[in-house]
């Protein structure tokens, strides 16, 4: 089962006011060798476009596990505002 299909099964309340995830230093991603964020995240929030040399952050899909901030010191990680983000049915 692809991750995209699994995301449909998760309940989210998306904060349209903006992302709770950011990279806090300009151009670090270009030089980053391993790009751990792109494969460690369990819901594929981070994607690196080699052509554009740009990291995209699909914060809507984040399930707030906190793993990305442990593998990369440049990720500015916050909880979504109260009540927003993931809400599991089973958990």
């Amino acid at each position: 089962m692809r991750i995209e299909d699994k995301l449909y099964l998760i309940g989210y309340k998306v904060d349209e006011d903006g992302s709770h995830l950011e990279v806090n230093k300009k151009d670090v991603c270009k030089k980053c060798k391993n790009k751990a964020c792109t494969f460690v995240c369990p819901v594929d929030v981070y994607k690196y476009d080699e052509k554009e040399e740009k990291l995209s952050i699909n914060y809507d899909a984040c399930v707030e596990c906190g793993t990305c901030k442990i593998v990369c010191e440049y990720i500015e990680w916050r909880y979504p505002r109260g009540g927003f983000g993931v809400a599991y049915k089973f958990g």
């Binding site: 819901v43 109260g82 983000g85 599991y88």
Partner: protein
């Protein structure tokens, strides 16, 4: 005058926070719990096997109303290789008699129920609110800041039960920053199946009896990984967790690993034809005893995952959370009598924890996390050897048993008698 809205503020409505709230409210303490989720449990994930004892001490008849799935009558351990499984386990009628040892549960339902019990006991629970930081005055924690307008709150004591990503312990310098070798990223799927299918596949006769399977072995390619398959009434929970450092090192994605596990020839028949209902991810603190944070400071105590209290060997976490919540509440009640909430007074919490099963168990396994890091052969080479040897013995192919045993002995020699003996000795010494 000293600002004070409540006697105690608890951050986080997981098992640790709710247990503390329940105990305090029952004793007439004015207590508030702040939870960032839409409801208690909305953000929480576990395998999840819930051990009854810690909660039964608090709410003796909890089984009457709690949302429980199946009580566990059989626990199995599987060593997986690419195409085989070598297993053991225990099924006992003793586990099929009340009081049961443990249950499968869903945390989104369980936490909501538990929170309701705390509300009935007199606690106030506020959802949809993020606690941003502690308010500290003259080195003493006196309250918290939230993301609500005018959202500052003051109390005699703040209890942090804010889980593995605890902002509060970090802000107060009670924990070192979490490093990738101390945590596992875990994912899980709930796969819906008719009740009868679950019963038949796991060999039980009704929807109240359940089975657990823990999975490890060379299938996970040398990563410190633990998988699990647990039965619910009309679904199966399947998941796995890997140490984050290993994921980075192997450039591995945990969802890919889960998909691979679901396709294993011994696993697939158990979930075949089922429909995935939910996919979820959460971290588990796996650093063990040496990773435990400082448990208190002036006006402040830490419980549950926020203090990194998980016994990964026995997949115990929720019960340690409840136990620590109860002991923090006890400590507050004593401190209140003296009217002294200083670090010195709250240090009684540390002492209570030290004398409880929580710290005793974690201490016993203190060397294990490091050992698993250093001795990869424990999870790969040795299990692979055992699986191959078992295959040779079961496979009747005209080769005389005596020759098979000779061949196996040769393979043992290759693994190295001395190294194996040393590993066995180390294991024995370190978890004695």
């Amino acid at each position: 005058m000293k600002k004070k809205d409540f006697d105690v503020i608890i951050v986080g409505a997981g098992p640790a926070g709710i247990a503390a709230a329940y105990k305090l409210a029952s004793a007439g303490v004015k207590v508030i719990v702040i939870e960032r989720g839409a409801f208690p449990g909305a953000k929480n994930v576990m395998g999840g096997i819930f051990y009854r004892k810690a909660l039964a001490d608090l709410i003796p008849d909890f089984e009457k109303t709690a949302p429980l799935e199946r009580h566990i009558i059989e626990q199995k351990m599987w060593l997986l290789s690419e195409d085989s499984v070598l297993g053991g386990g225990l099924r006992s009628e003793k586990f099929n008699k009340e009081p049961y040892n443990c249950y499968s549960v869903f945390r989104a339902k369980f936490d909501k129920w538990f929170a309701q019990k705390a509300i009935e006991a007199g606690a106030l629970i506020i959802n949809e609110t993020v606690v941003k930081e502690p308010i500290v005055e003259n080195g003493k924690v006196i309250g918290i800041k939230t993301d609500r307008p005018d959202g500052d709150l003051y109390a005699d004591v703040v209890i942090a039960a804010d889980g593995i990503n605890s902002l509060l312990t970090k802000a107060l310098g009670l924990r070192e920053s979490i490093t990738p070798e101390k945590v596992a990223l875990t994912v899980k799927e709930v796969i819906g199946l008719p009740e009868k299918v679950v019963n038949d596949r796991f060999g039980v006769i009704n929807k109240h009896e359940g089975v657990t399977i823990e999975l490890t072995g060379p299938f996970f390619e040398g990563m410190t990984t633990m998988g699990f398959i647990y039965t619910n009434k009309t679904s199966v929970s399947i998941g796995l967790g890997a140490i984050v450092e290993d994921l980075v090192h192997h450039k591995a994605n945990i969802n890919d690993m889960l998909e691979k596990l679901k396709a294993h020839p011994a696993v697939k028949p158990l979930i075949h034809g089922g429909e995935t209902k939910e996919y979820m991810a959460h971290m588990i603190p796996e650093g063990g005893y040496f990773a435990i944070t400082k448990l208190y400071t002036d006006g402040f105590m830490v419980c549950g995952d926020a203090a990194m209290l998980v016994n990964a060997v026995h997949r115990e976490g929720s019960n340690l959370a409840i136990e620590s919540g109860k002991l923090a509440a006890d400590t507050y009640l004593k401190a209140k009598k003296k009217g002294d909430f200083s670090a010195k007074s709250l240090s009684a919490y540390q002492k209570k924890m030290k004398n409880s099963f929580v710290m005793k168990d974690l201490k016993m396994y203190r060397h294990l996390p490091k050992m698993m890091e250093d001795k990869r052969q424990l999870l790969t080479k040795y299990p692979q050897f055992a699986i191959d040897a078992a295959y040779d013995i079961y496979n009747i192919d005209g080769v005389a048993k005596i020759d098979k045993i000779k061949a196996i002995k040769k393979r043992v020699a290759k693994l190295g008698y001395i190294r194996m003996a040393k590993d066995a000795f180390d294991m024995w010494r370190k978890i004695r």
